[in-house]
């Protein structure tokens, strides 16, 4: 078991974390490249970067958007706060980072971390129930939309149980192993699923500013390519 824990904490963590970071970085670079390319291709460079920035901020701090579908929106915000804040500011995680890199930062009091974990777990299942209960959401859901809530719930549940051995019916070490392996799977999945929005969100409002500014000759180049240039309408 010790070997397994060492593996999960060591090479497995490093590998999965690297896949996530590099995968997301690659997507950021591609998207940013697309934005610059669209900007260089068009004749209309008068782009409102400020409006895109404001809209991005409006979704990162979505106070204005809470009125639409209130329960769902508030749950979604709670979920996102929990899923980001809990692992990053949890004392045990910061201690691990400090031990290996020397870096450390402010941490949550243990009771807050507990509450946030439970809130996240509750929110994840509430969102899932919301998805199942909403006709339009069911109509557009893919397998990953149902699988990811379960996947994300595992490290939170196992983490909470590992931090509260007296509540845990399972032995400590296997719980910790499940915690670390499932977190690693989340990292692995991130660049290949909708989780990639965790990195891409800052860029998502820019396309609609830029995308309508087409390259000046693109429609004609398209018909030339398919050999239909000069044909009557």
């Amino acid at each position: 078991m010790e070997d397994w824990l060492a593996f999960a904490r060591g090479p497995f963590f490093r590998f999965t974390f690297a896949v996530m970071v590099l995968g997301l970085l690659r997507q950021l670079v591609i998207t940013w490249w697309g934005i610059l390319r669209a900007h260089s291709l068009t004749a209309d460079r008068n782009v409102s970067w400020w409006r895109a920035f404001r809209r991005t901020l409006g979704w990162l701090v979505p106070l204005r958007h809470l009125k639409q579908r209130r329960l769902y929106s508030v749950t979604s915000v709670l979920f996102h706060v929990g899923v980001i804040v809990t692992p990053v500011l949890f004392l045990g995680h910061v201690q691990l980072v400090k031990a290996s890199t020397g870096l450390s930062w402010w941490t949550l009091p243990a009771s807050w971390a507990d509450i946030l974990s439970l809130v996240t777990l509750a929110a994840v299942f509430a969102l899932l129930v919301g998805r199942l209960g909403s006709r339009p959401a069911r109509a557009i859901s893919r397998p990953q939309d149902y699988a990811l809530p379960f996947l994300l719930a595992v490290p939170f549940l196992s983490g909470y149980l590992a931090a509260h051995p007296h509540l845990n019916p399972l032995p400590y070490n296997p719980t910790l192993l499940v915690h670390m392996l499932s977190a690693g799977v989340c990292f692995l999945v991130a660049p290949f699923s909708k989780l990639s929005h965790m990195a891409l969100v800052p860029l998502t409002q820019l396309p609609s500013e830029l995308a309508w500014r087409f390259p000046p000759d693109y429609p004609e180049l398209v018909v030339t390519d398919i050999g239909r240039e000069g044909q009557p309408i």
Binding site: T31, R37, A43, Q68, S134, K194, L200, Y218, D225, I226
Partner: protein, 487 residues
């Protein structure tokens, strides 16, 4: 009318209505008429066009990004006026966008191609294209969903792309194609096929009408005046249907000393390219700019028309060539003149309840939202807002070119415009001001089909014409009194 009834009326009729050899041939394969299809492998041609589009534009980056981030939260369904009425999953904006994202992922990404080699791949079929063709014209391109997507997915853009590619393979509503054909290749060069002589006659008639109404001979419709500051492009249908709007425009231009002209070479601001195809969009823009250059005008003034304004404002800088002329909407001009005190409107003439419908194309991004309201408040005593309004407005239900597709009227008024009809009823307004030729047509049909009763759908300049004070002309109050007696 219920959604179900509307759907039944619009049920797809597979029978060609005319002999395919006839030049007027159409088939009703979808809820709208299309021209006879070229035989051949449509999926292959679709992919060929899509590949070329991705090669020559930045669309690929957006499709890539949207494929990755889409969270399928269905918030877009909450704000879509069509879904709101039909509750049909295929009307969820995100569902519609997925129709093209799926094609992109399958044929244009490494993962999609690799997966296709490993297993039994999904293939683009005629049935998928039929679904797409039907779906993209159930959308009114109002882009409300775009503002509600947490991940910024521009569903309007993806619908625009699908319509573009479908048009390139010959799949577009006949009504829109015919209008574009006349505008770009016909003899009259405008969507309503109005000959120049008829346009000139109309202008003269409107001048005489203004003399009658104002008791003053001075307001002109200048045609082909070289070197004017503004070349004026209303929706050309205004010459046929919206005499009061045009007279209001001319009266304001006269009273404020605007240097303007109508060009006999091209006097149509309509650009259905925006709704079906970027190639047409580009050519219509270039035709517009060419006329401005011919006239030696410096700026473009668009009349009361939402899509004409947006297509000129957004796409003259994109497709208009070097040093593109500035684009102004006539309401911006009127607002500025009012602000500077150069326009006098009598606040006692319009006493009925008035409401304002925001055309999506000028309001969604907040371009023209406050200006018309300030104008209205300056002379209409009883102004009532619809809720929601401004950049969060509901579409009239005829957006995205669908208003010109007469065969889907039952869908447009029964489904697309249902929310708008409810809004109008709730205001209890006598006048619905809709500064857009397309919205006006749709709203009048809404008033009829929903039995909204004594509601007049008018342009903003129609009411301005009633209230404008021009030195030397009969005062507005006197004109109103005379109008009441005559009425």
């Amino acid at each position: 009318m219920s959604a179900r009834a509307a759907e039944e009326t619009d049920a797809v009729d597979p029978q060609p209505t005319l002999d395919a050899a006839s030049p007027r041939a159409s088939t009703r394969r979808y809820s709208y008429y299309v021209e006879p299809q070229t035989a051949g492998d449509r999926p292959r041609r679709f992919l060929q066009v899509m590949a070329a589009v991705l090669r020559h534009s930045a669309y690929g980056y957006w499709l890539d990004l949207y494929s990755r981030v889409s969270a399928k939260c269905s918030r877009c369904a909450d704000v879509c006026p069509v879904y709101d009425v039909t509750h049909d999953p295929r009307d969820v904006p995100c569902y519609r966008s997925e129709l093209i994202l799926k094609v992109y992922r399958r044929y244009f990404t490494f993962a999609g191609m690799a997966r296709a080699r490993l297993g039994k791949p999904w293939e683009l079929t005629d049935a998928h294209l039929d679904e797409m063709a039907e779906s993209v014209y159930r959308c009114t391109a109002c882009r409300r969903c775009t503002t509600e997507c947490p991940l910024g997915i521009d569903h309007g853009l993806l619908t625009h792309l699908m319509r573009h590619i479908l048009t390139e393979i010959g799949l577009a509503p006949k009504a829109l194609v015919v209008a574009v054909r006349e505008q770009l290749e016909g003899r009259t060069r405008n969507t309503s096929a109005i000959p120049v002589a008829a346009m000139r006659d109309t202008c003269e008639f409107l001048e005489e009408e203004l003399v009658d109404q104002l008791g003053y001979d001075g307001v002109r419709f200048p045609v082909d005046v070289e070197g004017a500051e503004y070349a004026f492009f209303p929706a050309v249908s205004d010459f046929l249907l919206e005499a009061d709007t045009l007279m209001g425009n001319a009266a304001v231009f006269h009273a404020t000393g605007c240097s303007w002209t109508i060009g006999s070479g091209n006097f149509d601001g309509i650009n259905y390219g925006l709704f079906i195809n970027d190639r047409y969009l580009r050519r219509i823009i270039r035709q517009l700019v060419a006329e401005v250059r011919r006239l030696g005008a410096r700026k473009i003034m668009i009349g009361e028309c939402g899509h004409a304004s947006r297509s000129a404002k957004d796409f003259v800088p994109v497709f208009g060539g070097p040093d593109p002329p500035e684009v102004v909407n006539c309401m911006e001009w009127t607002h500025r003149m009012l602000d500077q005190g150069r326009l006098v409107l009598n606040p006692d003439v319009i006493t009925d309840v008035v409401t304002f419908h925001d055309p999506c194309n000028i309001a969604r991004k907040g371009w023209i939202v406050d200006q018309p309201r300030e104008i209205i408040r300056s002379f209409c005593r009883n102004f009532v807002e619809m809720t929601p309004s401004g950049s969060e407005n509901y579409c009239c239900g005829g957006g995205g070119g669908t208003v010109s597709i007469d065969e889907i009227r039952a869908f447009r008024t029964g489904v697309g415009g249902k929310r708008k009809a409810d809004q109008i009823r709730a205001t209890g307004a006598r006048y619905v001001i809709a500064p857009c030729a397309n919205c006006k047509k749709q709203l009048r049909e809404l008033v009829e089909d929903h039995g909204l009763g004594e509601v007049d759908v008018v342009g903003l300049h129609d009411l301005i014409l009633k209230a404008i004070e021009i030195p030397g002309a009969r005062p507005a109050a006197e004109r109103a009194a005379a109008g009441l007696q005559a009425g």
